[in-house]
Protein backbone atom coordinates (compact mmCIF):
# COMPACT_ATOMS: atom_id res chain seq x y z
CA UNK A 1 0.00 0.00 0.00
CA UNK A 2 1.50 3.31 -1.02
CA UNK A 3 1.32 5.93 1.69
CA UNK A 4 3.46 8.50 -0.07
CA UNK A 5 2.80 10.23 -3.34
CA UNK A 6 5.85 9.97 -5.52
CA UNK A 7 7.10 13.53 -5.94
CA UNK A 8 7.22 14.76 -9.57
CA UNK A 9 10.35 13.59 -11.26
CA UNK A 10 13.20 15.96 -11.89
CA UNK A 11 12.08 16.84 -15.40
CA UNK A 12 8.62 17.63 -14.08
CA UNK A 13 10.11 19.97 -11.52
CA UNK A 14 12.20 21.69 -14.15
CA UNK A 15 9.15 22.10 -16.32
CA UNK A 16 7.32 23.88 -13.51
CA UNK A 17 10.33 26.07 -12.90
CA UNK A 18 10.52 27.00 -16.54
CA UNK A 19 6.83 27.82 -16.69
CA UNK A 20 7.15 30.03 -13.63
CA UNK A 21 10.18 31.66 -15.17
CA UNK A 22 8.38 32.45 -18.39
CA UNK A 23 5.44 33.86 -16.49
CA UNK A 24 7.66 36.05 -14.39
CA UNK A 25 9.57 37.17 -17.44
CA UNK A 26 6.42 38.72 -18.79
CA UNK A 27 5.53 40.40 -15.54
CA UNK A 28 7.43 43.68 -15.97
CA UNK A 29 5.05 44.60 -18.75
CA UNK A 30 2.38 44.99 -16.13
CA UNK A 31 4.42 46.58 -13.36
CA UNK A 32 5.54 50.09 -12.71
CA UNK A 33 9.20 50.69 -11.74
CA UNK A 34 8.45 50.74 -8.01
CA UNK A 35 7.08 47.21 -8.03
CA UNK A 36 9.71 46.03 -10.45
CA UNK A 37 12.32 47.18 -7.97
CA UNK A 38 10.40 45.46 -5.19
CA UNK A 39 10.39 42.27 -7.24
CA UNK A 40 14.18 42.35 -7.47
CA UNK A 41 14.38 42.39 -3.68
CA UNK A 42 11.95 39.49 -3.52
CA UNK A 43 14.04 37.48 -5.97
CA UNK A 44 17.16 38.08 -3.91
CA UNK A 45 15.39 37.20 -0.67
CA UNK A 46 13.99 33.98 -2.05
CA UNK A 47 17.39 33.03 -3.43
CA UNK A 48 19.03 33.66 -0.06
CA UNK A 49 16.37 31.77 1.86
CA UNK A 50 16.48 28.82 -0.52
CA UNK A 51 20.24 28.62 -0.21
CA UNK A 52 20.04 28.76 3.58
CA UNK A 53 17.40 26.08 3.53
CA UNK A 54 19.86 23.61 2.02
CA UNK A 55 22.08 23.64 5.07
CA UNK A 56 19.55 24.78 7.63
CA UNK A 57 16.48 22.86 6.52
CA UNK A 58 17.60 19.83 4.54
CA UNK A 59 20.76 19.06 6.40
CA UNK A 60 19.43 20.28 9.71
CA UNK A 61 22.35 22.53 10.58
CA UNK A 62 20.89 25.96 11.23
CA UNK A 63 23.51 28.50 10.30
CA UNK A 64 23.00 31.74 12.19
CA UNK A 65 25.77 33.64 10.52
CA UNK A 66 24.81 33.14 6.93
CA UNK A 67 24.60 36.81 6.07
CA UNK A 68 28.39 36.73 6.20
CA UNK A 69 28.41 35.12 2.76
CA UNK A 70 26.09 37.72 1.35
CA UNK A 71 28.31 40.43 2.76
CA UNK A 72 31.46 38.78 1.49
CA UNK A 73 29.95 38.49 -1.95
CA UNK A 74 28.95 42.13 -1.93
CA UNK A 75 32.39 43.26 -0.80
CA UNK A 76 34.19 40.95 -3.21
CA UNK A 77 32.08 42.29 -6.03
CA UNK A 78 32.76 45.85 -4.95
CA UNK A 79 36.51 45.34 -4.68
CA UNK A 80 36.73 43.57 -8.03
CA UNK A 81 34.68 46.26 -9.73
CA UNK A 82 36.20 49.36 -8.21
CA UNK A 83 39.81 48.33 -7.65
CA UNK A 84 40.31 46.03 -10.60
CA UNK A 85 37.71 47.25 -13.06
CA UNK A 86 36.39 43.77 -13.75
CA UNK A 87 33.16 43.64 -15.69
CA UNK A 88 29.97 42.74 -14.02
CA UNK A 89 29.74 39.30 -15.56
CA UNK A 90 32.97 38.16 -13.98
CA UNK A 91 32.39 39.63 -10.56
CA UNK A 92 29.26 37.57 -9.95
CA UNK A 93 30.80 34.12 -10.33
CA UNK A 94 34.04 35.20 -8.66
CA UNK A 95 32.14 36.52 -5.66
CA UNK A 96 30.24 33.26 -5.43
CA UNK A 97 33.48 31.34 -5.65
CA UNK A 98 35.07 33.47 -2.96
CA UNK A 99 32.12 32.90 -0.65
CA UNK A 100 32.22 29.18 -1.32
CA UNK A 101 35.91 28.91 -0.60
CA UNK A 102 35.57 31.01 2.50
CA UNK A 103 32.83 28.73 3.77
CA UNK A 104 35.37 25.93 3.98
CA UNK A 105 36.88 27.75 6.96
CA UNK A 106 33.69 26.94 8.80
CA UNK A 107 34.30 23.24 8.52
CA UNK A 108 35.51 22.75 12.10
CA UNK A 109 32.22 24.14 13.36
CA UNK A 110 30.39 21.15 11.94
CA UNK A 111 31.57 19.02 14.80
CA UNK A 112 28.80 20.60 16.80
CA UNK A 113 25.09 20.35 16.41
CA UNK A 114 21.94 22.27 17.11
CA UNK A 115 22.31 25.38 19.24
CA UNK A 116 26.06 25.17 19.51
CA UNK A 117 26.40 25.17 15.77
CA UNK A 118 23.94 28.01 15.46
CA UNK A 119 25.73 30.22 17.90
CA UNK A 120 29.19 29.32 16.67
CA UNK A 121 28.26 30.35 13.17
CA UNK A 122 26.84 33.56 14.59
CA UNK A 123 30.06 34.28 16.45
CA UNK A 124 32.14 33.46 13.39
CA UNK A 125 30.07 35.77 11.22
CA UNK A 126 30.37 38.60 13.72
CA UNK A 127 34.12 38.07 13.83
CA UNK A 128 34.33 38.35 10.06
CA UNK A 129 32.23 41.48 10.12
CA UNK A 130 34.52 43.00 12.73
CA UNK A 131 37.53 42.27 10.55
CA UNK A 132 35.90 43.80 7.50
CA UNK A 133 35.01 46.91 9.43
CA UNK A 134 38.55 47.45 10.55
CA UNK A 135 40.57 46.31 7.53
CA UNK A 136 40.90 49.51 5.56
CA UNK A 137 41.82 47.94 2.23
CA UNK A 138 38.63 45.92 2.25
CA UNK A 139 36.14 48.26 3.77
CA UNK A 140 36.34 51.12 1.28
CA UNK A 141 38.26 52.61 -1.58
CA UNK A 142 39.98 55.28 0.45
CA UNK A 143 41.30 54.40 3.86
CA UNK A 144 38.75 56.68 5.46
CA UNK A 145 35.84 55.14 3.59
CA UNK A 146 33.36 52.88 5.34
CA UNK A 147 31.62 51.58 2.28
CA UNK A 148 31.77 51.24 -1.45
CA UNK A 149 30.25 53.39 -4.15
CA UNK A 150 29.52 51.34 -7.19
CA UNK A 151 28.95 52.41 -10.76
CA UNK A 152 25.47 51.74 -11.94
CA UNK A 153 24.32 52.50 -15.41
CA UNK A 154 21.89 49.63 -15.66
CA UNK A 155 18.13 49.93 -15.43
CA UNK A 156 15.76 48.37 -12.98
CA UNK A 157 14.46 46.16 -15.75
CA UNK A 158 17.96 44.84 -16.26
CA UNK A 159 18.25 43.93 -12.60
CA UNK A 160 14.81 42.36 -12.72
CA UNK A 161 15.85 39.95 -15.43
CA UNK A 162 19.24 39.38 -13.89
CA UNK A 163 17.67 38.65 -10.52
CA UNK A 164 15.14 36.34 -12.12
CA UNK A 165 17.79 34.49 -14.07
CA UNK A 166 19.98 34.04 -11.01
CA UNK A 167 17.03 32.90 -8.93
CA UNK A 168 15.99 30.34 -11.53
CA UNK A 169 19.55 29.08 -11.75
CA UNK A 170 19.74 28.89 -7.97
CA UNK A 171 16.48 26.97 -7.67
CA UNK A 172 17.39 24.65 -10.52
CA UNK A 173 20.72 23.85 -8.88
CA UNK A 174 18.94 23.16 -5.61
CA UNK A 175 16.60 20.74 -7.35
CA UNK A 176 19.58 18.98 -8.84
CA UNK A 177 21.29 18.83 -5.47
CA UNK A 178 18.25 17.38 -3.72
CA UNK A 179 17.86 14.71 -6.37
CA UNK A 180 21.51 13.73 -6.26
CA UNK A 181 23.44 11.53 -3.86
CA UNK A 182 24.30 14.65 -1.92
CA UNK A 183 20.61 15.22 -1.28
CA UNK A 184 20.20 11.63 -0.19
CA UNK A 185 23.13 11.97 2.17
CA UNK A 186 21.77 15.22 3.63
CA UNK A 187 18.38 13.69 4.30
CA UNK A 188 20.06 10.88 6.19
CA UNK A 189 22.40 13.21 8.02
CA UNK A 190 19.50 15.35 9.12
CA UNK A 191 17.72 12.39 10.65
CA UNK A 192 20.56 10.50 12.23
CA UNK A 193 24.22 11.07 11.52
CA UNK A 194 25.42 8.01 13.42
CA UNK A 195 23.23 5.72 11.35
CA UNK A 196 24.18 7.48 8.15
CA UNK A 197 27.87 7.03 8.92
CA UNK A 198 27.33 3.39 9.78
CA UNK A 199 26.08 2.71 6.25
CA UNK A 200 28.93 4.46 4.53
CA UNK A 201 27.97 8.12 4.32
CA UNK A 202 31.00 10.37 4.80
CA UNK A 203 29.07 12.94 6.79
CA UNK A 204 31.79 15.56 7.02
CA UNK A 205 32.24 15.59 3.27
CA UNK A 206 28.57 16.04 2.48
CA UNK A 207 28.05 18.67 5.13
CA UNK A 208 30.94 20.61 3.64
CA UNK A 209 29.52 20.31 0.15
CA UNK A 210 26.10 21.43 1.32
CA UNK A 211 27.50 24.34 3.27
CA UNK A 212 29.72 25.52 0.45
CA UNK A 213 26.78 25.29 -1.93
CA UNK A 214 24.64 27.28 0.46
CA UNK A 215 27.37 29.92 0.67
CA UNK A 216 28.01 30.35 -3.04
CA UNK A 217 24.55 31.64 -3.92
CA UNK A 218 24.42 34.32 -1.24
CA UNK A 219 27.85 35.36 -2.52
CA UNK A 220 26.51 35.73 -6.04
CA UNK A 221 23.42 37.59 -4.94
CA UNK A 222 25.58 39.81 -2.78
CA UNK A 223 27.68 40.79 -5.76
CA UNK A 224 24.51 41.69 -7.61
CA UNK A 225 23.17 43.66 -4.67
CA UNK A 226 26.01 46.16 -4.67
CA UNK A 227 25.47 47.65 -8.12
CA UNK A 228 21.73 47.43 -7.61
CA UNK A 229 21.88 49.63 -4.54
CA UNK A 230 24.86 51.65 -5.77
CA UNK A 231 26.29 51.79 -2.26
CA UNK A 232 27.16 49.09 0.23
CA UNK A 233 28.50 49.20 3.74
CA UNK A 234 29.07 46.71 6.51
CA UNK A 235 25.84 47.69 8.23
CA UNK A 236 23.72 46.96 5.21
CA UNK A 237 25.23 43.75 3.92
CA UNK A 238 26.33 42.04 7.13
CA UNK A 239 23.13 42.86 8.94
CA UNK A 240 21.84 40.10 11.20
CA UNK A 241 18.37 40.72 9.89
CA UNK A 242 19.44 39.26 6.56
CA UNK A 243 20.17 35.97 8.26
CA UNK A 244 17.00 36.21 10.27
CA UNK A 245 15.01 36.68 7.09
CA UNK A 246 16.67 33.70 5.45
CA UNK A 247 15.65 31.57 8.39
CA UNK A 248 12.21 33.01 8.83
CA UNK A 249 11.23 32.77 5.19
CA UNK A 250 12.18 29.12 5.24
CA UNK A 251 10.43 28.44 8.53
CA UNK A 252 7.33 30.36 7.55
CA UNK A 253 6.96 28.52 4.30
CA UNK A 254 8.07 25.17 5.67
CA UNK A 255 11.66 24.51 6.55
CA UNK A 256 13.30 21.64 4.75
CA UNK A 257 10.98 21.78 1.77
CA UNK A 258 11.78 23.13 -1.66
CA UNK A 259 8.75 25.39 -1.89
CA UNK A 260 8.98 26.61 1.69
CA UNK A 261 11.45 29.46 1.16
CA UNK A 262 9.64 30.49 -2.00
CA UNK A 263 6.23 30.67 -0.38
CA UNK A 264 7.69 32.27 2.71
CA UNK A 265 9.70 34.70 0.65
CA UNK A 266 6.73 35.92 -1.34
CA UNK A 267 4.32 36.20 1.58
CA UNK A 268 6.70 37.76 4.05
CA UNK A 269 8.07 40.22 1.52
CA UNK A 270 4.51 41.29 0.86
CA UNK A 271 3.82 41.68 4.58
CA UNK A 272 7.04 43.59 5.04
CA UNK A 273 6.17 45.88 2.17
CA UNK A 274 2.69 46.57 3.47
CA UNK A 275 4.04 47.30 6.93
CA UNK A 276 6.61 49.65 5.49
CA UNK A 277 4.20 51.45 3.27
CA UNK A 278 1.60 52.05 5.92
CA UNK A 279 3.33 52.06 9.27
CA UNK A 280 6.81 53.30 8.54
CA UNK A 281 7.88 53.99 12.09
CA UNK A 282 6.61 50.74 13.44
CA UNK A 283 7.44 48.77 10.37
CA UNK A 284 10.21 46.62 11.75
CA UNK A 285 8.19 46.03 14.88
CA UNK A 286 5.15 44.87 12.96
CA UNK A 287 7.26 42.66 10.80
CA UNK A 288 8.92 41.21 13.89
CA UNK A 289 5.53 40.65 15.51
CA UNK A 290 4.34 38.76 12.46
CA UNK A 291 7.40 36.55 12.58
CA UNK A 292 6.95 35.82 16.25
CA UNK A 293 3.28 35.04 15.81
CA UNK A 294 3.96 32.72 12.91
CA UNK A 295 6.55 30.74 14.75
CA UNK A 296 4.56 30.69 17.95
CA UNK A 297 1.45 29.33 16.37
CA UNK A 298 2.81 27.27 13.55
CA UNK A 299 6.35 26.05 13.88
CA UNK A 300 5.78 23.84 10.89
CA UNK A 301 5.17 26.74 8.55
CA UNK A 302 2.51 27.58 6.01
CA UNK A 303 3.03 24.49 3.93
CA UNK A 304 2.11 22.30 6.86
CA UNK A 305 -1.39 23.83 6.82
CA UNK A 306 -1.81 23.20 3.15
CA UNK A 307 -0.38 19.76 2.87
CA UNK A 308 -0.17 16.97 5.41
CA UNK A 309 3.32 15.46 5.44
CA UNK A 310 2.91 13.18 2.49
CA UNK A 311 6.05 13.40 0.45
CA UNK A 312 5.70 15.78 -2.43
CA UNK A 313 8.80 17.88 -2.55
CA UNK A 314 9.41 17.49 1.15
CA UNK A 315 12.83 16.24 2.13
Amino acid sequence: MRLFDRPPGLSGQFAWLLAAGVGLALLPLALDPYWTRFAVFVFINIGLASAWNVIGGFAGYPSFGHSVFFGLGAYTGAILTVRYGLPFWTTLPLAGLAAGIFSLLFMPLFKQRGFYFALSTLAAALAVEAVVRSWTWVRGYKTSDHGWNLPNDMSVIFFYYLGLALLLACLASILLLIASRVGMALRAIHRDETVAASVGVDCARYKTIAFAFSAVWPGVFGAMYGPFLVYISAETVFDMKITLNMIVYSVFGGVGTFLGPIVGGVLLSAIDQIAWAHFLDYHSMIYGVVIVLIITFSPGGVLSWVRKPSGGLRS
Binding site: M1, R2, L3, F4, R181, M184, A185, R187, A188, R191, D192, T194, V195, A196, A197, S198, V199, G200, V201, D202, C203, P309
Partner: protein, 249 residues
Protein backbone atom coordinates in the same frame (compact mmCIF):
# COMPACT_ATOMS: atom_id res chain seq x y z
CA UNK B 1 33.87 -25.12 15.13
CA UNK B 2 35.50 -23.28 12.30
CA UNK B 3 39.23 -23.33 11.82
CA UNK B 4 39.03 -20.96 8.89
CA UNK B 5 41.48 -18.08 8.68
CA UNK B 6 40.86 -15.04 10.86
CA UNK B 7 38.91 -12.22 9.24
CA UNK B 8 38.90 -9.74 12.09
CA UNK B 9 41.69 -9.69 14.67
CA UNK B 10 41.80 -7.61 17.84
CA UNK B 11 45.22 -7.49 19.47
CA UNK B 12 45.82 -5.91 22.85
CA UNK B 13 42.85 -3.63 22.42
CA UNK B 14 42.18 -1.38 25.39
CA UNK B 15 39.72 1.41 25.93
CA UNK B 16 39.35 3.58 28.96
CA UNK B 17 36.94 6.42 29.61
CA UNK B 18 38.36 8.73 32.19
CA UNK B 19 39.05 6.37 35.04
CA UNK B 20 36.96 3.49 33.81
CA UNK B 21 38.69 0.68 31.93
CA UNK B 22 35.96 -0.60 29.64
CA UNK B 23 38.15 -2.96 27.65
CA UNK B 24 41.54 -4.24 28.86
CA UNK B 25 44.17 -5.69 26.53
CA UNK B 26 41.66 -7.80 24.65
CA UNK B 27 42.84 -10.40 22.17
CA UNK B 28 40.19 -12.03 20.09
CA UNK B 29 39.50 -12.99 16.51
CA UNK B 30 36.57 -13.59 14.24
CA UNK B 31 37.09 -16.36 11.69
CA UNK B 32 35.99 -16.26 8.08
CA UNK B 33 32.45 -17.55 7.58
CA UNK B 34 31.68 -18.38 11.18
CA UNK B 35 28.91 -17.33 13.51
CA UNK B 36 30.62 -16.00 16.59
CA UNK B 37 28.57 -15.34 19.68
CA UNK B 38 29.83 -12.59 21.96
CA UNK B 39 28.25 -12.53 25.39
CA UNK B 40 28.89 -11.19 28.81
CA UNK B 41 27.08 -9.53 31.67
CA UNK B 42 26.23 -5.85 31.69
CA UNK B 43 29.35 -3.74 31.82
CA UNK B 44 31.47 -6.51 30.33
CA UNK B 45 32.52 -4.32 27.45
CA UNK B 46 30.53 -5.90 24.61
CA UNK B 47 29.08 -2.64 23.40
CA UNK B 48 32.46 -0.96 23.69
CA UNK B 49 34.09 -3.65 21.56
CA UNK B 50 31.29 -3.14 19.09
CA UNK B 51 31.83 0.59 18.94
CA UNK B 52 35.60 0.21 18.67
CA UNK B 53 35.34 -2.17 15.75
CA UNK B 54 32.71 -0.13 13.93
CA UNK B 55 34.68 3.09 14.35
CA UNK B 56 32.38 5.02 16.60
CA UNK B 57 35.09 5.06 19.25
CA UNK B 58 38.85 4.76 18.99
CA UNK B 59 40.86 2.30 21.09
CA UNK B 60 43.23 3.76 23.66
CA UNK B 61 45.74 1.18 22.50
CA UNK B 62 45.96 -2.00 20.49
CA UNK B 63 45.22 -2.91 16.92
CA UNK B 64 42.15 -4.03 15.01
CA UNK B 65 42.80 -5.67 11.68
CA UNK B 66 40.23 -6.61 9.04
CA UNK B 67 41.51 -8.99 6.38
CA UNK B 68 45.01 -8.01 7.39
CA UNK B 69 44.53 -4.24 7.16
CA UNK B 70 44.46 -2.00 10.21
CA UNK B 71 41.11 -0.36 10.79
CA UNK B 72 41.48 1.09 14.27
CA UNK B 73 41.12 4.86 14.04
CA UNK B 74 39.01 4.87 10.89
CA UNK B 75 35.73 6.74 10.79
CA UNK B 76 32.52 4.70 10.91
CA UNK B 77 31.78 5.31 7.25
CA UNK B 78 35.26 4.19 6.31
CA UNK B 79 34.92 1.03 8.40
CA UNK B 80 31.63 0.35 6.65
CA UNK B 81 33.22 0.68 3.25
CA UNK B 82 36.00 -1.69 4.28
CA UNK B 83 33.34 -4.30 4.85
CA UNK B 84 31.97 -4.25 8.39
CA UNK B 85 28.27 -3.63 8.83
CA UNK B 86 26.43 -3.30 12.11
CA UNK B 87 22.99 -3.02 13.57
CA UNK B 88 22.03 -0.81 16.49
CA UNK B 89 20.61 -1.75 19.83
CA UNK B 90 17.87 0.87 19.77
CA UNK B 91 15.62 1.61 16.84
CA UNK B 92 17.71 3.34 14.25
CA UNK B 93 15.62 3.45 11.12
CA UNK B 94 15.46 6.85 9.51
CA UNK B 95 11.99 8.29 10.09
CA UNK B 96 9.98 9.95 7.36
CA UNK B 97 11.44 7.50 4.84
CA UNK B 98 10.09 4.20 3.65
CA UNK B 99 11.65 0.84 4.40
CA UNK B 100 12.96 0.73 0.85
CA UNK B 101 14.42 4.21 1.07
CA UNK B 102 16.23 3.24 4.26
CA UNK B 103 17.83 0.31 2.51
CA UNK B 104 18.53 2.33 -0.63
CA UNK B 105 20.62 4.72 1.36
CA UNK B 106 22.94 1.95 2.46
CA UNK B 107 23.21 0.51 -1.03
CA UNK B 108 23.77 3.89 -2.66
CA UNK B 109 26.81 4.69 -0.56
CA UNK B 110 28.77 1.57 -1.22
CA UNK B 111 32.27 1.73 -2.58
CA UNK B 112 32.21 2.85 -6.25
CA UNK B 113 33.80 -0.46 -7.23
CA UNK B 114 30.93 -2.33 -5.62
CA UNK B 115 28.39 -0.08 -7.31
CA UNK B 116 29.95 -0.80 -10.68
CA UNK B 117 29.86 -4.52 -9.95
CA UNK B 118 26.23 -4.67 -8.87
CA UNK B 119 23.43 -2.17 -9.38
CA UNK B 120 21.94 -0.44 -6.36
CA UNK B 121 18.45 -1.46 -7.38
CA UNK B 122 19.42 -5.14 -7.42
CA UNK B 123 21.19 -4.95 -4.10
CA UNK B 124 18.15 -3.32 -2.51
CA UNK B 125 15.71 -5.86 -3.92
CA UNK B 126 17.96 -8.68 -2.80
CA UNK B 127 18.37 -7.29 0.74
CA UNK B 128 14.63 -6.80 1.09
CA UNK B 129 13.95 -10.32 -0.15
CA UNK B 130 16.43 -11.94 2.20
CA UNK B 131 14.93 -10.17 5.19
CA UNK B 132 11.38 -10.87 4.03
CA UNK B 133 10.49 -7.18 3.85
CA UNK B 134 9.50 -6.94 0.20
CA UNK B 135 5.81 -6.73 1.03
CA UNK B 136 6.20 -3.74 3.32
CA UNK B 137 9.00 -2.07 1.43
CA UNK B 138 7.05 1.07 0.62
CA UNK B 139 5.63 1.66 4.06
CA UNK B 140 7.13 4.34 6.28
CA UNK B 141 9.80 2.77 8.45
CA UNK B 142 8.32 4.07 11.68
CA UNK B 143 5.00 2.37 11.02
CA UNK B 144 6.11 -1.22 10.56
CA UNK B 145 6.20 -3.53 13.57
CA UNK B 146 9.18 -4.20 15.81
CA UNK B 147 10.10 -7.48 14.18
CA UNK B 148 10.10 -5.82 10.77
CA UNK B 149 12.15 -2.93 12.09
CA UNK B 150 14.76 -5.36 13.34
CA UNK B 151 14.83 -6.98 9.94
CA UNK B 152 15.18 -3.53 8.42
CA UNK B 153 18.34 -3.11 10.46
CA UNK B 154 19.67 -6.28 8.91
CA UNK B 155 18.52 -5.38 5.41
CA UNK B 156 20.24 -2.03 5.67
CA UNK B 157 23.39 -3.66 6.94
CA UNK B 158 23.57 -6.26 4.20
CA UNK B 159 22.81 -3.66 1.55
CA UNK B 160 26.32 -2.35 2.15
CA UNK B 161 27.60 -5.74 0.92
CA UNK B 162 29.76 -6.35 3.98
CA UNK B 163 32.31 -9.03 4.71
CA UNK B 164 31.27 -9.09 8.34
CA UNK B 165 27.92 -8.37 9.96
CA UNK B 166 27.78 -7.49 13.64
CA UNK B 167 24.43 -7.50 15.38
CA UNK B 168 23.87 -5.76 18.70
CA UNK B 169 21.21 -7.43 20.84
CA UNK B 170 19.06 -7.85 17.78
CA UNK B 171 16.47 -10.15 19.33
CA UNK B 172 15.77 -7.87 22.26
CA UNK B 173 12.08 -7.14 22.52
CA UNK B 174 10.96 -9.94 20.22
CA UNK B 175 8.68 -12.81 21.15
CA UNK B 176 9.91 -16.40 20.66
CA UNK B 177 8.38 -16.84 17.23
CA UNK B 178 9.76 -13.53 15.95
CA UNK B 179 13.11 -14.45 17.45
CA UNK B 180 13.11 -17.72 15.55
CA UNK B 181 12.31 -15.93 12.28
CA UNK B 182 15.14 -13.50 12.78
CA UNK B 183 17.64 -16.18 13.69
CA UNK B 184 16.57 -18.21 10.69
CA UNK B 185 17.30 -15.23 8.44
CA UNK B 186 20.69 -14.68 10.04
CA UNK B 187 21.66 -18.31 9.75
CA UNK B 188 20.56 -18.20 6.13
CA UNK B 189 22.86 -15.25 5.49
CA UNK B 190 25.70 -17.10 7.15
CA UNK B 191 25.16 -20.15 4.97
CA UNK B 192 25.67 -17.92 1.96
CA UNK B 193 29.05 -16.90 3.28
CA UNK B 194 28.43 -13.93 5.55
CA UNK B 195 30.57 -13.88 8.67
CA UNK B 196 28.45 -13.03 11.68
CA UNK B 197 29.26 -11.62 15.11
CA UNK B 198 26.28 -12.00 17.30
CA UNK B 199 26.42 -9.81 20.41
CA UNK B 200 23.60 -10.88 22.59
CA UNK B 201 22.13 -10.97 26.06
CA UNK B 202 19.69 -13.74 25.24
CA UNK B 203 21.82 -16.80 25.91
CA UNK B 204 19.31 -19.20 24.41
CA UNK B 205 19.38 -17.35 21.08
CA UNK B 206 23.15 -17.28 21.16
CA UNK B 207 23.49 -20.97 21.91
CA UNK B 208 21.13 -21.90 19.10
CA UNK B 209 23.04 -20.16 16.30
CA UNK B 210 26.65 -19.66 17.40
CA UNK B 211 29.36 -21.97 16.21
CA UNK B 212 31.81 -20.49 18.67
CA UNK B 213 31.33 -18.45 21.79
CA UNK B 214 33.40 -15.74 23.45
CA UNK B 215 32.54 -14.53 26.91
CA UNK B 216 33.69 -11.12 28.06
CA UNK B 217 33.75 -9.93 31.63
CA UNK B 218 35.05 -6.62 32.92
CA UNK B 219 36.63 -5.81 29.61
CA UNK B 220 38.64 -9.00 29.40
CA UNK B 221 38.19 -12.30 27.62
CA UNK B 222 36.87 -14.78 30.16
CA UNK B 223 36.19 -17.86 28.07
CA UNK B 224 36.23 -18.97 24.47
CA UNK B 225 35.26 -22.09 22.59
CA UNK B 226 32.40 -24.40 21.86
CA UNK B 227 29.13 -22.75 22.94
CA UNK B 228 27.73 -25.50 25.13
CA UNK B 229 31.01 -26.16 26.89
CA UNK B 230 31.62 -22.50 27.54
CA UNK B 231 28.10 -21.86 28.76
CA UNK B 232 28.47 -24.58 31.34
CA UNK B 233 31.88 -23.54 32.60
CA UNK B 234 31.85 -22.55 36.27
CA UNK B 235 33.66 -19.26 35.63
CA UNK B 236 31.01 -18.17 33.19
CA UNK B 237 28.14 -19.17 35.42
CA UNK B 238 29.69 -17.33 38.34
CA UNK B 239 30.00 -14.19 36.27
CA UNK B 240 26.33 -14.33 35.35
CA UNK B 241 25.09 -15.31 38.77
CA UNK B 242 22.85 -12.69 40.21
CA UNK B 243 21.88 -11.08 36.94
CA UNK B 244 18.88 -13.04 35.81
CA UNK B 245 17.44 -12.28 32.46
CA UNK B 246 14.77 -14.02 30.50
CA UNK B 247 15.98 -13.42 27.01
CA UNK B 248 13.73 -10.40 26.53
CA UNK B 249 14.66 -6.95 27.86
Amino acid sequence: MSTAPALLVLSGVSKSFGGVQAVAALDMEVRQGEVLGLIGPNGAGKTTVFNLVSGIQQPTSGSIRLAGAEIAGLRPDQVCRRGIARTFQTASFLPGMSVRENVELAAAFRDPAKIRARRTRDVVADALAKTELTDVADQPAELVNVSQQKRLEIARAIATEPLLLMTDEIVAGLNPSETDDLLRILVGLNREGMTLVFVEHDVRAVLSVSQRLIVLAQGKLLAEGDPRTVARSPDVIRVYLGSRYAGNQ
